[in-house]
């Protein structure tokens, strides 16, 4: 008999568990930081079809209202408006989205927060139903082929009450949702606004 050695690939259990736990601890850390402060940085919501945003009251600063056409989850080019605000404070925010399950049933995902504060808000909306009031509002027209420069509306402050907005894209540089709740419910069919 002769004695020789060969190399065999092997997984070290100890190393695996240390790396595994470290990974999960750092994941828990990140989720914990976001969860405790209710804060998410640069949160985009869009490209997944229309979703609805409802709230009782919104106080915004540096408001900009720009008409545009853009892609939604259902259409390549839909007319919509872009709302921009540098700061927005919202009471009783409710975001919901209807999703079709592979089984054919519909489910509605709710995100609710009694108060929310947002920095750097960009929102593309197809439908807005709300009471609006502006401070120092200015409407400007420009002779341009670019639809986004053709007509703009600005205001230093805006207050929006009892709003329901059909949204296709929402972006926030920083959002803090105090006491946020996420829930789901089964529904018969999706909500549509023509």
């Amino acid at each position: 008999m002769k004695d020789s050695s060969v190399r065999v690939g092997n997984t070290m259990k100890k190393k695996f568990f240390i790396a595994f736990l470290t990974g999960f601890l750092s994941l828990g850390g990140i989720i914990g930081v976001f969860g405790l402060s209710g804060t998410a940085f640069a949160m985009p919501l869009g490209g997944m079809g229309e979703f609805f945003v409802e709230f009782d009251e919104l106080h915004g600063e540096d408001f900009e209202f720009i008409p545009k056409t853009g892609e939604t989850g259902d259409s390549d080019s839909a007319p919509m408006v872009r709302n921009k605000m540098s700061v927005a404070n919202i009471t009783n925010l409710h975001i919901y989205k209807d999703l079709k399950l592979p089984t054919g049933n519909w489910v509605r995902v709710h995100i609710e927060a009694p108060s929310a504060s947002i920095k750097g808000l960009i929102q593309d909306a197809r439908f807005i139903d709300a009471n609006l009031s502006f401070e120092e509002m200015a409407i400007k027209e420009q002779n341009s082929d670019d639809i986004s420069k053709n007509w703009t509306q600005n205001a230093t402050k805006v207050t929006i009450e009892n709003a329901k907005i059909a949204t296709s894209y929402l972006f926030q540089s920083m959002v803090s949702l105090d006491g946020a709740e996420i829930s789901m419910e089964m529904i018969d069919g999706p909500e549509t606004i023509e």
């Binding site: 065999v8 690939g9 940085f41 640069a42 490209g47």
Partner: protein
């Protein structure tokens, strides 16, 4: 002290036996099994899978990925890097620890901009990264059969006559 040493020796013996068993199964296996043995196969495969899952969300949001201020682009970057790391782990097995650490780091960070492939991508990335870190090639001493044993048996009609018991009797 002696007790500790004997325990360590027992552990080592057990490990060697396990590795030897692995080697035996490897010997009987095909080409693919041998190829798999030379690299952190499952770690790299799970890393690739995690990269694809993490890329799913930015791909769905590609229309707005390049909007100024959008973090979806970062999701593309993280998902793409995880895919590259997974691919490299197949071809550069010696760097598996580095690839594993990178996979875990990028998977956790992908929560921002890509939602970590609905968290599932992040979890698969952590498992794949941990497997890459834990993978290593180990020397196993084996008892190879002597050269006499390796000689092919001759056909019956060519074997020497003295081996035939009935004729000796």
């Amino acid at each position: 002290m002696g007790n500790k040493e004997s325990r360590a020796a027992k552990k080592l013996e057990k490990k060697q036996a396990k590795l030897q068993k692995k080697y035996e199964s490897l010997e009987g296996g095909g080409k693919f099994k041998k190829w798999r043995n030379d690299r952190p196969f499952w770690g790299a495969t799970l890393t690739l899978l995690a990269g694809l899952m993490i890329l799913y969300i930015p791909l769905q949001l590609y229309a707005i990925a390049f909007v100024p201020g959008s973090l979806v682009f970062v999701g593309f970057l993280f998902g793409g890097l995880i895919l590259i790391v997974g691919g490299c782990a197949y071809f550069y097995p010696k760097l598996s620890t580095l690839f594993g650490v990178m996979t875990i780091f990028l998977s956790v960070l992908s929560i921002m901009g890509a939602l970590g492939g609905f968290i599932i991508g992040t979890i698969i990335g952590i498992v794949g990264g941990a497997l890459c870190i834990a993978w290593q090639q180990e020397e196993v001493s084996i008892d190879t059969p002597s050269e006499n044993k390796r000689v092919k048996r001759r056909p019956k009609h060519q074997r020497p006559v003295e081996n035939n018991q009935s004729l000796q009797a």
